[in-house]
Subunit: 442 residues, 2 copies
């Protein structure tokens, strides 16, 4: 196999139509685990279909010489040691899905990572060159957070933002803990794979955009420069259970009435700002006891506020809290915040964006800088190691839905780009620790 | 045992402190099946605790010489034939409860019926008189409707308002049908016990008020003259699933936002009328897929409108439908009515109220006429046979809640009254078929 050199004298990794075919075939195989009739996935964290796709992935990696291991929060790693004295670069995403989610969200990034590492390793088998780093594919545990909250759990534990035992003791709505669920699918490891004493030197993740900017503008690759700030709350609205027919309207302490007013307030909060300044939602709401002829005694709801500006987020949040206080009086109920998960708007690394930008240019792709509104495991990882986050287009921006779709061409472009970035890191490109800042954003 | 005669020469049934003690002890035993720590019940239709209370009840009845049988929709009857040529009078209520419901709702009426019939039978064992009717205790299947909809299922099938197979094929939210659930607890009968060819001659039911009128006014007994009209709807709000963070606010078809606006509209519809003219509620609401970071694709909700006036109900309903249409446009979703269960305001029998009124007076109780806002199995039965519906007080009007409470004295008064009414029916008091009407209401 010969090395390719671009006009500027940079080496480019070999690619082929055979590689492309294999990737698409593997992606189809992977998408069968938890597949829904409408082309999506039902593969929540640590459910049987999630266990099945992990066994498939582990076999794929072991067949190609990776050493597969799981850490104590169920992150799965596929390690390739190329240079015993060098640090690891970690690359990956997650194989868990939302209920009736799409088959690209997360899973694409894991398979792209596996193929890209495999391609880099193949290159080194044919040369005497010594790579500057080792490579590890990661499948983070519970990025989605639909079954076990919070989201991005595996990377939060690895980066020290979430206590391991708190995470393992987290229960789903049926009372099953993360610990029990991971053990049941055989994915609960006994050791740390990476820890403070032995951090990776960089992290790379590719993901579908889950928005329509790239698709609308016909651009191949998004180079992620920053994340939106987010405030996520679990709220309990506490009223009093009563008979719907027999109880006077004035005597009711209807938790669902109050929760409904809160959902409306959350949605209409966004209308106070121009589009794109704040996103608000309530996607989860549980009514107790949820009987047709019983006034609800309690409603548990999840409120999600996101903004590119921490300032706007704080202002909107304060306004919402005031509205909740007024609703509590109107409906004669209490609002209790049971849990909060908050992160500020912050930035990826300049050196990572620069490296990705150079690779994009040399491969002949188009790109633009972009902010991510969704959280990703790189949101956690970028706070401890230089990180690169890449997007490929999502048709119509649809995500967390079975209709989620990305064109084959875009999938394959992404694999090439990840391979090329990893290749450059193995050839000694080091990433600096400087985060971007507001002034650098286009 | 001697017969008692009041001032007007009417016979009164014997009562004793021993009877009272036995009733309270039996009520405590019965309340243990499905008991919650807070003093309520979790005994939804055809669940294991419901099966257990039925086995207890069947043994109680058989021990006292009743013939116990179940019909094809799982109504349980305890028959006592006193005169082979006479028709039956049926008396009872239901032993199923709401989730975290109270221990008096329904169960009290069944046990009061059993004790009252037992007391009347004891009287006839000591005389040579031939009763004019036979007596049957009934425990109707699925009055509550929390697990299987609609409510008042057993009496709806017996009265021909609901098709037997439709009822048996009704599934709960986990997909278990009435047929399967009844068979599992051994309560699915093979035959009709009562049908069009052999109707009872009267129906009697006693129940806690589930309102605060008797309690507030210090009155012993409510004589029910009429029911409120009710419109109950199962509605599906259909939007489109999407990522809460990544999807532009303007692009959302958020089913939960629309459903929340609908819940608020339902509640605030009641504020358009004076208290007591209309009750509205939404007690059941289910979000799909119900994940914190997913815009809901569908919400299923149960809307319940009730009024003493069919006219007000129709007017309010039309206003609400108009609001739903406007919400559908605002939120870019569809409202689909999946099921409707509707009944008009209507009336009990003049002869029944008169008989109960006379018995109340002779027993020295206070009483008032009252309308029921809740539905009861007598709502169905009164349309085919002369029916008497009685209330005892509920402390603070609390019902469908664990705090539901009725004083022992009121429970015992009710048993005495039912026994006395049954006694008078066995002595040849016949009930006429004339319903009350608007002009007769106080």
């Amino acid at each position: 196999m010969s090395e390719l050199v671009d006009a500027a004298g940079e080496f480019l990794l070999a690619r082929s139509a055979v590689d492309d075919d294999r990737f698409l075939r593997d992606f189809a195989s992977m998408s069968a685990f938890g597949a829904t009739p409408a082309g999506g996935l039902e593969r929540e964290a640590a459910t049987p279909p999630h266990g099945a796709v992990r066994r498939w992935l582990a076999a794929w990696l072991e067949d190609r010489g990776f050493t597969v291991c799981r850490d104590r929060i169920g992150n799965m790693f596929g390690l390739v040691e190329l240079n015993p004295d060098a640090p690891y670069v970690v690359v990956g995403s997650h194989t868990d899905s939302q209920p009736r989610g799409g088959r690209f969200d997360g899973a694409y990034g894991v398979l792209a990572a596996a193929h890209a590492v495999s391609r880099v390793c193949r290159h080194y088998r044919d040369t005497s060159a010594v790579p500057a780093v080792n490579l590890a594919v990661v499948d983070w545990f519970n990025e989605e957070g639909s079954r076990f909250k919070p989201s991005m759990m595996g990377s939060a534990v690895l980066t020290g933002k979430l206590d391991l035992d708190v995470a393992l003791d987290t229960a789903d709505t049926s009372g099953t803990t993360v610990r029990t669920a991971l053990a049941a699918i055989g994915e609960l490891g006994q050791l740390d794979v990476f820890d403070d004493a032995e951090l990776p030197s960089a992290y790379v993740e590719i993901h579908i955009e889950q928005g329509r900017i790239l698709d609308k503008q016909g651009i191949d690759i998004g180079l992620v420069t920053s994340t939106w700030a987010a405030n996520k709350y679990e709220i309990a609205v506490v009223g009093a259970q009563a008979h719907t027919g027999a109880t006077d309207m004035a005597d009711r302490q209807d938790a669902l009435y109050a929760a409904a007013k809160a959902v409306v307030a959350v949605r209409e909060l966004a209308d106070r700002y121009p589009e794109g300044r704040i996103h608000t939602s309530c996607g989860q709401l549980t009514v107790l006891p949820n009987s047709p002829v019983v006034v609800a005694r309690e409603v548990r709801m999840h409120v999600d506020l996101r903004s590119p500006s921490s300032h706007i987020l704080a202002e909107a949040d304060a306004h919402l809290q005031q509205q909740f206080a007024e609703i509590a009086v109107t409906a004669n109920v209490k609002f209790e915040t049971r849990h909060a998960h908050v992160w500020k708007a912050n930035f990826y690394h300049q050196s990572g964006v620069d490296l990705a930008q150079a690779a994009v240019r040399d491969l002949g792709f188009s790109s633009r800088e972009i902010r991510t509104r969704a959280g990703h495991d790189s949101t956690n990882m970028k706070d401890i190691v230089p990180s690169i986050m890449l997007f490929v287009p999502s048709v119509d921006g649809i995500s967390h839905a079975e209709q989620e779709f990305t064109e084959d061409r875009d999938l394959l472009n992404g694999v090439d780009l990840v391979a090329e970035i990893l290749f450059r890191l193995t050839r000694g490109h080091a990433l600096g620790g400087d985060h971007l800042d507001w002034n650098s954003l286009t």
